[in-house]
Symmetry: C2
Subunit: 213 residues, 2 copies
Amino acid sequence: MSEASVLPVGDPAPIDFYFDFISPFGYFASLRIDALAASHGRTVEWRSMLVGVTVLKVMGLKPLMEIPLRGDYLKHDAARYMRRHGIVMKRPIARPPTSPVIAGRAFHWLRVHAPDRARAAAAALYAAYWVEDIPLDTVELVADIAGLGVAADRRAVLDGIASGEAAALLRQEVDASIARGIFGSPSFLVDGELFFGVDKLDLLEEWLAIGGW
Amino acid sequence: MSEASVLPVGDPAPIDFYFDFISPFGYFASLRIDALAASHGRTVEWRSMLVGVTVLKVMGLKPLMEIPLRGDYLKHDAARYMRRHGIVMKRPIARPPTSPVIAGRAFHWLRVHAPDRARAAAAALYAAYWVEDIPLDTVELVADIAGLGVAADRRAVLDGIASGEAAALLRQEVDASIARGIFGSPSFLVDGELFFGVDKLDLLEEWLAIGGW
């Protein structure tokens, strides 16, 4: 085999970043994944899913934060992560989540109809929910934030959320994530290799650097 | 307050290392925890528990390896860890576990009656189970290994396992671990701070180095 034949052809595949808007660890990962990927010449495909569907219906578990012992630990671990990384959020980790369905529909509608704005909208929705403690539980709130301050976009997002298309797109993405083995937020899929949890970002970076073990 | 009053008095407390003999990630941690602790002037108190009791009865979950999606991921993650760390084991990760109760009874009996040999016995039991694929499901097998090749010790361990004391000691330790919030293997408790999972060893080391965040 000649040396030339093992040279990469084109850009490497993006990292698929799976997250749920109501997942604090997903939010933490969202603050680091783009820079981490870029430092290894990768882009990131942000993909919101619904952990509730996966955990409850596919895995047969109750919400992780409600599991005895484990729920307490996860809250403690999140607070520890925040202190270590200097993250301040108005929304308490322990407060029961609102539904992420409206935000998920808006995000996936944007991915199709305004793909260059979807990532920024997701980051804005995440910051609104966790940092500003805005519940994202009405179409108006979500459209305000996902519209990124552009009145015409706000209107388009409002109409998009209400469309059956947005609901179908989110449903498809949740089904596709389960088919790919995704069971929690955050998850990262790179060249077919799955990493679960913000604690795996260092390992993911090592994988990107050396191409696996 | 004078400077002298904040100087440490005596040795720092040991790190409590909670593990289950049937946990592969617990085995991985057992290979690193002593050296990690020693490099920060700490000793380690090895404490075997029964994840099955905690997971099934307290948390209301099925065994993690049997949970859809998550079980597959854990097997993949364990195999990846083994490649990265050069660990070779004859026992397949995916094979259903045997009961760790006999090994746990022997270990806790040794902790009371031969405390200077308990850690070495635990390491030998762990290596027998995972590296050599010895099931640890009879008192004879466990006594052979936990006796560390000394005939008189083998006899003492055999008698110890059969005693009600050994069963009571293990039961007490499992109850105590649950009371301290331990829900999985491996877990590490240092100065009241809990870390779960072999992936947290780097964070635990940072905690030891800087005293927390």
